[in-house]
């Protein structure tokens, strides 16, 4: 890993200013449309909220206050939004990772033609619009949906998916699958199959080969897939809105609600919290996984 970045830095040194010029457009766009709004967001979260009618044409007053944060931490917001967000993020990423790894592995180890077809199918899953996708799940998961009809046919009690964590997690996991499969299969493909052949010739059966060779060598891929899964699931909005039925809500839904009440400072607090937990969890996971990656 580090040798690659050292080589990269050396190359930059040789190229002079060219890399900076090439990066400039992206950096300018990021500064204006990401960094600047992010700073704005952070500062607004410390501003005083003016309820409608208090001052004409003003939604907040630029004086420093912690009352927005106090409100967030002292009331039911932690249990109502923060905790469900973390729960959905972590569970659906873990489930999606477990489900997508075997698929990604078989794609990566397929002959080129088959690999192209399987990859195309994976991409096709991404082409379904978010609204169509989430309403399809509504049809499948509702009380009179396909699954519950089948379950009651077998004589079991119906399962409540809508308005529960389970429903939101199912929807989110499915959304993540295509991304994770895509990201994992790329990195598994980079693992030289002769490592696995070598292990088998040395006496390792399939399971031992997987645990000792394939899995450790795919840790970099797993690490980036997990980061992708966490960041994508953190910003879930339409899935909890439709499948959560207003009972299970995530931070993105809180932001939406507060903005519709024109409470920009509190919406900013929710956004800052979303950013904070995403960064914290991602950093933590990355730290743990990177420590395990021994490939130099």
């Amino acid at each position: 890993m580090s040798s690659i970045s050292i080589k990269f830095l050396r190359r930059i040194g040789r190229l002079g200013f060219t890399p900076y010029i090439l990066c400039a457009p992206a950096i300018i766009i990021l500064v204006f449309f990401f960094l600047f709004p992010a700073v704005m967001l952070l500062s607004v979260s410390f501003f005083k909220y003016l309820p409608p009618g208090t001052a004409i044409g003003k939604m907040y007053e630029p004086t420093f206050t912690l009352e927005n944060y106090m409100r967030f931490f002292k009331s039911a917001y932690l249990d109502g939004y923060l905790w469900p967000t973390i729960k959905v993020m972590v569970t659906s990423t873990i489930i999606a990772l477990i489900l997508s790894y075997p698929v990604a592995y078989s794609i990566a180890r397929s002959p080129p033609r088959k690999r192209k077809i399987l990859t195309a199918i994976t991409i096709a899953a991404l082409l379904v619009g978010p609204v169509v996708r989430v309403y399809s799940w509504l049809v499948i998961l509702s009380r009179d949906g396909i699954i519950n009809n089948f379950i009651s046919l077998l004589g079991f009690n119906k399962i409540e998916f809508l308005g529960t964590d389970l429903g939101v997690i199912i929807g989110t996991t499915q959304f993540l699958l295509a991304f994770l499969i895509f990201s994992l299969s790329g990195s598994i493909q980079n693992i030289n199959p002769s490592y696995e052949d070598a292990a088998r010739s040395l006496g390792a059966n399939e399971i031992y080969t997987f645990i000792k060779i394939t899995l450790p060598l795919s840790l970099p891929g797993i690490s980036s897939a997990v980061l992708l899964g966490l960041t994508l699931s953190a910003t879930m909005f339409e899935t909890p809105m439709v499948l959560g039925q207003g009972i299970v809500e995530m931070l993105a839904n809180l932001v939406f609600t507060e903005i519709s009440f024109l409470n920009f400072p509190f919406a900013s607090v929710a956004s800052v919290m979303l950013l904070a937990i995403t960064l914290t969890i991602s950093y933590g996971v990355n730290y743990l996984l990177q420590a395990k990656i021994k490939v130099r």
């Binding site: 088998r200 010739s201 040395l202 006496g203 059966n205 490939v295 130099r296």
Partner: protein, 362 residues
């Protein structure tokens, strides 16, 4: 199928197809105990597939593979106890050299002390003592190659398979390693199957060579047999260089065989031991062809002119066009007179002895 005790490894009619391509086609081969056998052939001739079938990494469609007299068709690779060295070495990058060496031993439940001892012993064998704590990324190509060899030998396998292990090394190291590899093989005394497309490696290292083309074995023999008595046009052409004339046998008696080539040359060869049909190929090695200023007193002597000359250090490669437009190549040892006598455009004679003509059935 009869299995003889002579062979450590025996392939009987092994066939492996990929889609429509027959990668290995009805291959039968026996490797004797402690023998260094080489599968030699151009890339894509099926030699690596054959090796992978023996290792069990590829499942053959037809035929039987025996290792030490035991039928292994349905034995998974991890139970065949075969040492395998890959072209790209496949040293596990997330493990130290010691962990790499210990990998196969831990599976075999060898106790810790013995693992340490054996790791030390095999690192000494491959002349890399003290390399236990390094990673593959810290080693050079040649060092990785030796570690791969040590890792495959440390499990004390019944058979060692090497898949073009030297092809990723630079020329000098390659030549040096092939001597070392052959020495180590003899030191350990392990039955070895070596796969390569490099005839130099095959000739230098092997007890016997099996020449392969299009999934089939063309000839099996010692390096000298293969070089001096090719039984097949492909073998004659692939091993070393050869001038190959196609022709018909005109006359044969107790002292010689007279052949007329399609290009209207009349060649004379010694009577052959094997059965010959009417149509034959005549193979003449370039180093057997000598150049003369005057017509030599040989029956195989023809006039021609030099077209081009390549100086290749110790010898000179002459491209000659005979008077009937037949092209031949001759290798002559470099002497100081060479540039004066033999330069492009010069009229010369070429000649060779009866015994230099090898006859191959068409």
């Amino acid at each position: 199928m009869a299995v003889t005790k002579i062979f450590d490894v025996e392939l009987v009619g092994v066939t492996k197809t990929f889609g429509k391509v027959k990668a290995v086609d009805d291959m039968s081969l026996g490797i004797k105990p402690k023998e260094f056998m080489t599968l030699l052939g151009p890339s894509g001739c099926g030699k690596t597939t054959a090796l992978r079938c023996i290792a069990g990494l590829e499942k053959h469609d037809k035929g039987d593979i025996f290792i030490k007299g035991q039928l292994v068709n349905d034995v998974p690779p991890y139970r065949r106890n075969i040492g395998l060295v890959f072209q790209d070495y496949a040293i596990f990058p997330h493990m130290t050299i010691f962990e790499n060496l210990a990998f196969g031993l831990k599976i075999r439940k060898v106790d810790k002390e013995e693992i340490n001892e054996r790791a030390k012993k095999y690192l000494e064998l491959v002349r890399l003592p003290g390399y236990e704590e390094r990673y593959a990324s810290q080693l050079s190509g040649g060092e990785r190659q030796r570690i791969a060899l040590a890792r495959s030998l440390i499990i004390e396998p019944t058979l060692l398979l090497l898949d073009e292990p030297l092809s990723n090394l630079d020329l000098k190291l390659r030549v040096q390693m092939r001597v070392e590899l052959a020495t180590m093989q003899r030191e350990v005394g392990i039955t070895t199957l070596y796969v390569t497309h490099d005839q130099g490696e095959a000739m230098a290292m092997s007890d016997r060579i099996a020449v392969m083309d299009h999934g089939r074995i063309k000839q099996v023999g010692t390096p000298t047999e293969i070089y001096n008595f090719p039984q097949d046009k492909f073998v004659a052409d692939f091993i070393g260089e050869a001038n190959i004339f196609s022709g018909k046998i005109l006359e044969r008696n107790e002292t010689e065989i007279k052949i007329s080539t399609d290009s209207d040359l009349t060649l004379f060869a010694l009577p052959a031991e094997e059965e010959l049909k009417g149509s034959v190929y005549v193979s003449v090695r370039p180093e057997a062809i000598k150049l003369y200023k005057q017509r030599p007193p040989l029956k195989n002597a023809f006039g021609g002119s030099i077209e081009a000359i390549e100086y290749l250090g110790s010898y000179v490669k002459c491209h000659i066009c005979l008077n009937n437009n037949q092209k031949v190549v001759a290798h002559i040892l470099y002497t100081k007179q060479v540039p004066d006598y033999f330069s492009p455009g010069k009229k010369i004679y070429v000649g060779w002895e009866h015994e230099d003509c090898t006859l191959i059935n068409r």
